[in-house]
Subunit: 503 residues, 2 copies
């Protein structure tokens, strides 16, 4: 096809096409949000087919030859402004990747995913891995096929890692995890040698409505724009966005445990502030999207941990909390509270893990996925392998599959390669937070006074506003002056726990 | 194109195409539901374009030449089972109508609709018609264009009436309204000559939560399946459906007025029971859709008025209501309550109007729309025209636009030609209810005992199960033995008010 149009016209056509694809994808996201928040049970079946049709449209539109031609041509033309060139370049990368998968393959993936989600649910309820085994095997088979279709160097897992974090490889992750594993193990051992911290006050009588109101107050205080988003309830907390002016978060309330809702509010708001800070003028285009999943997670972790588990921040908020729940927090000082919410103790469940042992949960899943992909581990052996690794790496005994290898939903969705971004997110978070505090001294002062506007401003101008313009690595350099450096994370942990555990 | 496939294969292709179109339409309906219930204000703009893209897809798919060929061919083949033939026939009618509108026109309509919905909301809040005027003018312009594109005989309004009620014309409506206007005016005059009925107890202290719970109880009692639907809050109560197993209703709570929420619950549940009763096996096909808007409204009106404002029904429910709100209902007998909820007094708001003056509200809107469409009235003159007509026809003074021409959402959605179906619905309701009671004596007995299952069963088997198989007129004949006969409605009113007002 001869593209004789002007560059401006070609770019306009590209933008129009991308925005319509975004409309369909975001419409699907609304249906998914509704599915997790308000869908009546009998509605699930037809909702499934409605979602399948929308993803089919989005995939078909995005892989149409005309878009490919447009992107090739735009990429070659020399007269595109820099931001437009970057959009076209990133879309071309995405296009070339998506083209490798036939609609039939996409459909098989989506069918297997729905099937394994249901068998995972059944297996978890029945506490029996064998109910999930067949569908998980099918999913692993498809993921191997996907890796072959996508192409990779060295290891098939690299193709999957790239889905969530462009350019991420096992070479890189092996190095990063090797460099944190020793220091984290030392820290765990030092902490284990100290008297345990008391966090019993977190489990008490925390009624639903005041918890909800308190959480909503935190979200507002963090700078979430409720005119451009909302919070609802769902089984599992998540963040979704339909554009930067409509960002939805969800939470769950546990009346017997204060920490679930509060920290899910802070965590999801971290994600949501990123989404609300993406440039709306690039709606539907790469520069309007988040940089990568590890950068996304860095935003949630930064707020949840670096801010939300700091003594400075709680000093100003805690009196309000104590006034809201006078009974369970009776006689609990803010220092006592601070130590409690930072208690370190290896345990079974990743989502409830402390900031140190958390990364062992991730490393175990990383090793497991790598081994599944290269065939050195077979699906049937997962439960035993899991128990061995939890005993060896965290010193905990896994009593059953429900609290073991069945705890996470990710594999049922086919999300292999996702977990490592959780750790990378924490590492980036520490580095961003440390850079922000050094670059702008008002950030720390404001946090000590209970204000986070200067911090949010720094994140907006150093991270959010760039969308996908830079890779994670480039963004990290531009924001902090250096590439990912694990030392920031290790220093942050060590400073925190030396104080808390006095070792 | 030569269609050499077997009839069975052709029909399967038709069904597959229709179901995918339905997936997209219902996805749009989910986005619209969210827009009216949970959408944060800043999300409106992009929601508008997402909806526009979905309607564009649905329109494009439905007007594709291949579907036209399929429908022509199926319609001509003699070997289709009767229900399949009827589906193809109705789809062909729809196809021929939709083909008249270009995708660009559909997109303009959808975008203008989202925009005017928001300016209507603002205008109503600010109590200022001028904020709505521009968008409404644009909408009226588009509707005139639509009438020209669709084609019509005699009057452009006929093209729009046909959208909501196939075959409905101003000739027919002028005749129907002429035949009820006199008797209704006589009834109003007779009632006005009698001492007024007391309904002051309806306005009192009716706290939110107990009102909500009571309303939810009524909805459940009427047979609404909460596993296949839900109720939420919105500015303007409505019913929507994403398939027969996911039907959503909304309501609003007024803590100072008991009647708003209660009667909106009953009304919307009437609509919802129809949607839940449509045959799911025809998902996406005409036989799975409602017959017409007047038939839809007959279902809501039948429950709201013929059942929900009857003494029989309230006798069994009222003790529960009185126990829930002992203060405002102190000393109010069920007979007193019954008279109060049936009080006739011309007033400003259509949705709060009694069963007699209601139709004057509709007739005013009907005249107004007719005049807007033929250009004898311009948008800027609506507020004045409105005030004049309310003074002349109902003898009430309209104090402002909020309680005048801004009260209804319909025009912002472009729903011109919709209002007349509200009156037709009431007329059909009376006829259906009278036929049902005569055909099955257990219906009346059960209602007197507080049960509506026999009535719902009659509606399911005489109305709901047929979908769009019959026209309104055919359905009316098949269910009641005669075409629409206004006398049933007039008799119903006269019986009721002779009792209440003793004239």
């Amino acid at each position: 096809m001869v593209l004789t149009k002007s560059t401006k016209d070609l770019y306009t056509e590209y933008v129009d096409r991308m925005r319509k694809i975004a409309d369909v994808k975001y419409a699907a996201a609304v249906l998914e949000w509704d599915q997790e928040t308000y869908l009546p049970p009998k509605g699930a079946e037809y909702r499934g087919r409605q979602l399948a049709t929308l993803s089919e449209i989005a995939h078909e539109w995005f892989t149409t030859a005309r878009l490919g031609d447009l992107l090739q041509e735009l990429h070659q033309r020399g007269d595109l402004p820099e931001d437009q060139h970057r959009n076209a370049e990133l879309s071309l990368e995405d296009y070339n990747k998506q083209k490798k998968f036939s609609p039939a393959f996409i459909r098989r993936l989506s069918e297997t995913s729905s099937r394994s989600f249901h068998s995972w649910l059944q297996a978890r309820t029945a506490n029996s891995f064998s109910l999930f085994e067949n569908d998980l095997s099918a999913m692993v088979g498809l993921k191997k096929e996907e890796a072959e279709l996508a192409g990779y160097e060295q290891h098939p897992y690299n193709a999957l890692l790239d889905n969530f974090e462009k350019g991420c490889t096992i070479a890189l992750l092996d190095k990063v995890f090797a460099s944190v594993r020793g220091p984290l193990k030392d820290l765990l051992d030092k902490i284990a040698a100290r008297p345990p911290v008391d966090d019993s006050f977190l489990r008490g009588d925390y009624p639903r409505q005041p918890q909800w109101d308190f959480g909503m107050g935190l979200i507002r205080q963090m700078g979430f724009d409720f005119d451009a988003g909302r919070q609802d309830l769902s089984e599992h907390p998540f963040t979704t966005s339909f554009n930067a002016r409509d960002v939805r978060i969800t939470t769950r309330v546990d009346e017997r445990d204060f920490s679930h809702m509060t920290f899910s509010c802070i965590h999801e708001t971290g994600h949501a502030l990123y989404e609300q800070g993406l440039p709306i003028e690039y709606y539907g285009l790469p520069l309007g999207e988040y940089a990568s999943l590890s950068i996304h997670e860095s935003q949630s972790r930064l707020w949840e941990n670096n801010v939300g588990r700091s003594l400075d921040w709680w000093r100003t908020i805690y009196p309000r909390l104590q006034a809201t729940f006078p009974q369970p927090l009776k006689g609990v000082s803010v220092e006592h509270f601070y130590k409690g919410i930072n208690k370190v103790a290896p345990s079974l469940i990743r989502t409830e893990a402390d900031e140190v042992s958390y990364h062992f949960h991730v490393m175990i899943r990383y090793q497991l996925e790598k081994s599944l992909l290269d065939g050195s581990l077979v699906v049937a052996d997962i439960p035993t392998w899991w128990k061995d690794k939890y005993a060896a790496w965290l010193g905990v005994t896994v009593p059953d599959d429900k609290r073991g290898c069945l705890q996470d939903v990710h594999w049922s969705h086919g999300s292999f390669g996702y977990f490592p971004t959780y750790s990378l997110g924490s590492f980036y978070a520490a580095q961003f937070f440390s850079a922000a505090e050094k670059q702008d001294l008002t950030i720390g002062t404001a946090l000590r006074e209970g204000h986070s506007e200067p911090l949010l401003r720094w994140l907006r101008t150093h991270i959010h506003c760039y969308g996908r313009r830079y890779t994670s690595e480039q963004l990290c350099k531009s924001a902090t002056g250096e590439p990912l450096n694990i030392q920031h994370f290790l220093d942050y942990l060590s400073d925190k726990y030396v104080n808390i555990y006095s070792f």
